[in-house]
């Protein structure tokens, strides 16, 4: 993964697959530390599965016995002197937290967060997605509930035209932080 935003896109698919109704993404940049949190209210993981989840030979997919999403994110975080932690409760949800030392030479660029958030919403239009990005310069929040309130019940968030709007809108917000 060349960008942190691609890791986020990848890991958030797990939340969607876990049947969540609310997906919360947050990025916080403070004093050289970049913290990303992916939290959902999906079905959660058993303690046994949770203990093994960053092992590449643990996966929920059925096409292969290997799952690299979380192992790759853990590696990326640890390479910068950061870390990965995961909390999960069956029936309640899962929270993945990755911390990166932003000034470390191995810290990947954040990349295209607007593309990631818009793609997540387009792929799972029934889920409420909240994305918060906060830096020393400011903060903004994107919330699909606000978008849905404007679009009404008949227009899906998966529509190509809505995707374009979200992508550009979030892109502009990203410039402010």
């Amino acid at each position: 993964m060349k960008e942190l935003s691609l890791h986020i896109l990848d890991i958030a698919q797990n939340s969607i697959a876990a049947g969540c109704s609310l997906l919360e993404l947050s990025l916080t940049e403070r004093e050289g530390l970049l913290t990303l949190v992916i939290a959902d209210d999906g079905r959660g993981m058993s303690p046994d599965f949770l203990a093994a989840v960053t092992d590449p030979f643990t996966t929920t997919r059925t096409t292969r016995k290997i799952g690299l999403g979380l192992p790759l994110l853990r590696l990326a975080a640890e390479q910068t002197g950061g870390d990965l932690s995961i909390g999960s409760t069956v029936g309640v949800g899962t929270t993945v937290t990755a911390r990166f030392r932003a000034d470390h030479i191995d810290c990947p660029p954040l990349g295209d967060m607007a593309g990631t958030v818009a793609a997540l919403v387009q792929g799972a239009p029934g889920i409420e997605t909240v994305y918060t990005h906060s830096t020393g310069r400011g903060a903004f929040t994107f919330d699909t509930r606000e978008i849905r309130a404007v679009l009404g019940p008949d227009v899906s968030l998966a529509e190509p035209e809505v995707f374009q709007w979200m992508r550009e809108y979030i892109g502009e917000q990203e410039e402010t932080v």
């Binding site: 990848d10 096409t63 690299l68 790759l72 593309g115 793609a119 387009q122 009404g152 995707f163 992508r167």
Partner: protein
Amino acid sequence: MKSLEELKAIREKMQKQVGLREESDDNIRVVVGMATCGIAAGARPVLEAFLQEVDKRGLKNVTVSQTGCIGVCRLEPIAEVYVPGQEKVTYVKLNAEMVPKIVADHLVNQQVVTEYTIGAAE
């Protein structure tokens, strides 16, 4: 600046066409693989390119959606095209530059872009 007003305008435009996409029998589906393998290989720009082209051309009979791992990770990014009454077509090793041709030739003009298919790659 993008505003919520623009979103309102999209809503008003869409409401006139609501139902067209799902209800028509000639609905074409494009499915992009967005698992770890696909994303690492560059599936996000491919998905974006499909959405952009479908929006630009105003193709109301095309649905773009996402799925997990399609199973041939080494050929990612992969997109599958389902045209009613025809066999599924699997495009492999895609990038955003290849997408406009697939949309124009296959989705609009019903001509499969053979050189991008899994049959040509294997």
